[in-house]
């Protein structure tokens, strides 16, 4: 075995491990707290039952959750969303790049924590919102997008990012 290869055998793990250390050390919460509020893009779509939804219909405090029947992590976060909806948090689903048949079947099978789900098969609204995949969640307060997380909604993300913002908004009202 020649020298560069021997060197590489030691160097490669060092690179890999330091990469992971960096990822770990970038505090997750920090990334989300820097979020700049923006207006909800205007849209006209239907919900999964075929009722028209406009941007104006999303007023007050709403949690928008991007989901799809093809998304496995959505299934993982589902019980947590159900818990939130039991605690009277209004969750609006954004059904992303899915077919309405599959989506409705998924909701029937797993339960429906959403007050309604916007049907966005081509991902138009999702694109304007800056969605990159499913699941993702946004916090809307009076038509302003004030928080955005990618990936599973967890207890920790809920408590550190969303809940304080909601509390603040409720108090100012």
């Amino acid at each position: 075995m020649n020298k560069p290869l021997r060197f590489l055998i030691v160097l490669l793990p060092i690179i890999i491990f330091s990469f992971f250390a960096k990822v770990l050390l970038v505090e997750e919460d920090e990334k989300f707290l820097k979020f700049n509020a923006k207006n909800l893009p205007s849209f006209e779509l239907n919900d999964l039952d075929g009722v028209a939804v406009k941007s104006q219909s999303l007023d007050g405090i709403k949690l928008v959750n991007v989901w799809a029947s093809w998304c496995i992590t959505c299934l993982v976060e589902h019980p947590f969303l159900t818990k939130l909806s039991d605690e009277n948090i209004q969750i609006v689903g954004l059904n992303y790049k899915d077919s309405s048949d599959k989506a409705n079947a998924w909701l029937q099978k797993n339960g429906n924590p959403y007050i309604f789900s916007i049907y966005d098969p081509r991902g138009d609204l999702a694109f304007d919102l800056g969605v990159t995949g499913a699941p993702e969640s946004f916090l809307l307060i009076d038509n302003q997008v004030i928080a955005h997380i990618q990936g599973e909604m967890t207890q920790r993300k809920w408590e550190t990012i969303f809940y304080p913002l909601i509390n603040k908004a409720r108090k100012t009202k």
Binding site: M1, Q108, K109
Partner: protein, 632 residues
């Protein structure tokens, strides 16, 4: 009180392991060491026993519902059967880490005491093992202490084990998997000790051979059980999801498989020794990496434990140091190893080394699949997801090439090149049979998917080569290694089963009211929703549905359920499966609709049983290899 004693015993073990390391630190380069060795050995044995007793007491606490201990209070419940009270210990992070350490000590104590009294590598192996156990014990006690009390008043009732984990397969899946994962600590420490020691005349292959084979068997059983559990318990109808946690179990498995082949080759000839050592170190390094991925919460997954950067950082630093230590010694010693560099092309070891390269390639591909989303996110903040299409596309050609090498290696010999002409005859028959078989499958099913057909073709290449070999053994008394043949036939069958499963299976969503009967397709002529009942069980309510099917002229009764667990309020779906040799009829119930009817998901999964069967063939092949006298 017992909780404190148990905690204290673990702490004492930490102290003793520290003492062993400190005490030996001064003599580390000293090769005349008989006194230190016998003392260290006694201390090592005592420390291991302290860990066992501590764990035994913890099990006792869990059985006797000591809910003043925070971990037990949040994962067990007085209503649980004893079996699940015990398995609740490994249903979450802290307890499963404890179990991991117990297994680590079990393997270590058995291996150390099995070595000859004056084995020259004994002391350094012992030190390496102590270092690893110590690192994990400190991790347990510092960052995830399972002994923590709820003070001043304990909980009156426990919060219950997660219902999807209340299942026999899942109760034994983690222990099996962990036994496999940590079993490779032996090859890891022993190879490191060998390289550190520097006397390359020593034999080391045969001391770790059987240990590694046993660890491989546990790992295989653990992965298969996990897959089986996911199939019937999660109700998603699949058996493998390329989830990060599955991937981090598959990587050590692939490395271990490569290691086994390489170990076999290096005991037959002087080549591939470097490969073997590297792989032996790599397996445990990948196990450590897996522990880091799962327990740091760095990747969202079905399995991930609570997300805690502090734990992640500790594990990362610890596993990084251990891995670097071993790889550093390896890189330092490699030039002085006296191994022949040249592998004769066309010899058996040449094919084996080609497959080593393929297995390393697949490990790397999985590694990339697991880490790529993280890399992209770190670079430009985007989230990408890598799913089954990536893995399927990468694996299909790798398996095709591997199967060709497996086939070629069957008729080749050690250390000598065999002219291509002489192996052609034994290649051509399986090749033609596989082509015919693949064509027939295509003709009969009339479905085409390039990846699945590659799978079927590769699988049948392996299968037919070995069957052909067995036949020629029978008629011409050609040599055959039975263990290897059984394991490889299992391997071939696995690909055929997976590919058949992916082209034949289908799914139907149904909507029926109680008492209704409908026609589904030619194979299922009647689907009747006979009855629905609400029952009460010890810790959950059950909605139980009875469905009868007329499938292929047979009457089948299915009983899917929905359970609502009292303490956690969680609802689980219990699928009902009717399994025949070729296909599984897999039924789950959904929700009740407003008009009183219920939704059902009916899946027809082909060849699922064959997947479990092929895994058990592989395990069986390995067992034969262990118990056969003449092996290696």
């Amino acid at each position: 009180m017992i909780g404190e004693i148990s905690h204290f015993l673990s702490l004492s073990a930490v102290v003793i392991f520290c003492l062993i390391l400190i005490f030996n630190f001064f003599f580390i380069f000293d090769k005349t060491h008989s006194n230190q060795l016998s003392l260290s050995l006694r201390m090592f044995n005592q420390a291991c026993w302290l860990v066992f007793i501590s764990f035994g007491m913890y099990v006792y606490l869990s059985i006797n519902d000591d809910f003043s201990i925070a971990y037990i209070a949040s994962h067990s419940n007085s209503q649980l059967p004893i079996f699940y009270k015990i398995s609740s210990i490994w249903s979450a992070h802290e307890g499963s880490m404890f179990l991991w350490i117990v297994f680590l000590t079990v393997w270590s104590i058995l291996f150390i005491n099995s070595l000859h009294r004056n084995h020259p590598l004994k002391r350094i192996t012992l030190l390496m093992l102590s270092l690893i156990i110590l690192g994990f014990l400190l991790f347990l006690l510092l960052t995830s202490n399972p002994f923590e009390r709820i003070l001043p008043f304990g909980a009156i009732e426990g919060a219950d084990i997660n219902p999807v984990l209340q299942d026999p397969a899942l109760a034994i899946h983690p222990p099996m998997l962990y036994l496999g994962y940590v079993g490779f600590v032996i090859s890891f420490s022993f190879i490191t000790a060998y390289l550190f020691h520097g006397n390359f005349e020593l034999e080391w292959e045969k001391d770790i051979k059987n240990w590694s084979l046993v660890a491989w068997i546990f790992l295989t059983i653990g992965i298969t059980l996990g897959s089986w559990w996911a199939y019937y318990e999660l109700g998603w109808g699949g058996y493998w999801f390329w989830d990060p946690v599955e991937n981090v179990a598959l990587m050590p498995w692939l490395a271990a498989t490569a290691f086994m082949h390489s170990l076999y080759a290096s005991s037959k000839s002087n080549v591939l020794k470097t490969w073997t050592m590297f792989l032996g170190i790599l397996i445990f390094a990948l196990s450590l990496f897996g522990a880091f991925i799962v327990r740091s919460g760095i990747i969202d997954s079905v399995h991930s434990f609570a997300n805690d950067p502090q734990r992640g950082l500790y594990l990362l630093i610890f596993s990084g140091l251990i891995t670097l230590l071993a790889l550093g010694i390896f890189a330092y010693r490699v030039p002085s190893l006296n191994v022949s560099r040249f592998v004769i092309s066309g010899s058996k070891e040449s094919y084996l080394s080609m497959n080593n390269i393929l297995m390393i390639t697949s490990i790397f591909s999985i590694f990339l699949g697991v880490t790529y989303p993280l890399i992209i996110e770190a670079v430009n903040g985007e989230k990408v997801s890598i799913g089954p299409p990536y893995y399927n596309t990468i694996f299909a050609p790798l398996i095709l090439i591997a199967s060709i090498f497996i086939m070629a290696s069957l008729d080749s010999i050690w250390q000598r090149s065999k002219p291509f002409k002489s192996i052609v005859s034994s290649i051509i028959v399986p090749m033609i049979l596989s082509l015919i078989f693949t064509y027939v499958v295509w003709h009969v099913t009339a479905v085409f998917s390039i990846l699945s057909y590659i799978g079927i073709f590769s699988g049948s290449l392996i299968l037919f080569s070995y069957l052909y070999r067995i036949l020629s053994n029978f008629f011409y008394k050609k040599f055959i290694n039975i263990g290897s043949a059984v394991a490889h036939i299992g391997f071939g069958l696995l690909f055929i089963a997976i590919s058949f499963n992916s082209i034949l299976s289908y799914e139907k969503n149904l909507n029926l009211a109680p008492g209704e009967t409908i026609l589904i397709d030619e194979s299922i002529e009647e689907f009747s929703f006979d009855d629905i009942k609400v029952l009460k069980a010890s810790n959950h309510d059950v909605i139980s549905v009875e469905v009868s099917l007329l499938q292929d002229g047979n009457n089948i009764f299915l009983n899917p359920q929905k359970r609502k667990y009292a303490t956690r309020g969680q609802i689980t779906t219990e699928s009902s499966i009717h399994a025949s040799i070729l296909k599984d009829t897999y039924l789950t119930i959904g929700d009740q609709l407003e008009n009183g009817s219920w939704t059902f998901a009916l899946k027809i999964n082909y060849f699922i049983k064959w997947i479990w069967f092929s895994a058990s063939l592989m395990v069986m092949g390995m067992l034969i290899t262990i118990f056969k006298k003449k092996a290696i």
